[in-house]
Amino acid sequence: MISALFYNPVMVSFHSELLLLLPLCAAVGLVYKAVRVERLSQLPLEYVKLLAYMAFGLAALCVLLWVIHTYWP
């Protein structure tokens, strides 16, 4: 049953495709901070900070591109 789960592709809509950037950012941030932090106790806070930076950065980029796309003459 588990092998069947990884056999056929899942249908992804365009809107959910953009939201799927978040788990990717979460994974990248977690591994990056697991490598970088000096003490493991710092990991949760550093990870949340990095995740917030990435999420807000991507959202800002998204809005900027939307504005350019919509209002560019």
Binding site: F6, Y7, N8, P9, E17, A27, L30, V31, V35, R39
Partner: protein, 165 residues
């Protein structure tokens, strides 16, 4: 040979372990918790990609560069590649239309946007493991096994000397 030299980690072994199983290099270097975090995250990300894209996410013929990145996940990439090869062999035995058409008929052909998501997830998982491999190599070359000593645990004289510097 001094005691320190005897206990210094082997960089080749650290890299080999990190290449085979994500996080195993750090586990070997005494950074078990970090190793477990890396293993779980990289493995989950890779198989999420394969879960979205299906068995043809790992494809050495069509997507060579993504395949190279995916293989950096070590055992995960090898298992996914083996499953892809098996799926193609089963389809090849069936005969009839071209192999590409048969993947469509079997419902395993990768189409966008699932293709992009699947390959990005699995490929980025491999690139993350590359970062872990490099970190394991650097730590073993520098001879720094185990978690770094917390600042408070250092002898007072040493902490003062470091603060003065």
């Amino acid at each position: 040979m001094t005691k320190q030299e005897q206990s210094s980690p082997n960089p080749v072994l650290a890299v080999l372990l990190a290449c085979t199983i994500p996080g195993a290099g750090h586990f070997y270097l005494g950074r078990a918790k970090r190793g477990i975090i890396m293993f779980l995250t990289i493995t989950a990300l890779f198989w999420s990609g394969v879960g979205v894209g299906g068995v043809l996410t790992v494809d050495p013929q069509k997507e060579r560069w993504w395949f190279a990145a995916q293989m950096l996940t070590g055992i995960n990439g090898v298992v996914a590649w083996q499953r892809q090869t098996k799926a193609y062999q089963t389809l090849a035995k069936a005969g009839g239309d071209s192999l590409e058409d048969r993947t469509v008929t079997a419902g395993i052909a990768l189409v966008g946007p699932a293709e992009t998501v699947a390959r990005a997830y699995s490929g980025v998982a491999g690139l993350l493991n590359l970062m872990c491999i490099f970190d394991a190599l650097m730590l073993s070359v520098m001879g720094a096994p185990g978690e770094p000593q917390p600042q408070d645990d250092k002898p007072k004289g040493l902490a003062k000397k470091e603060a003065a510097n």
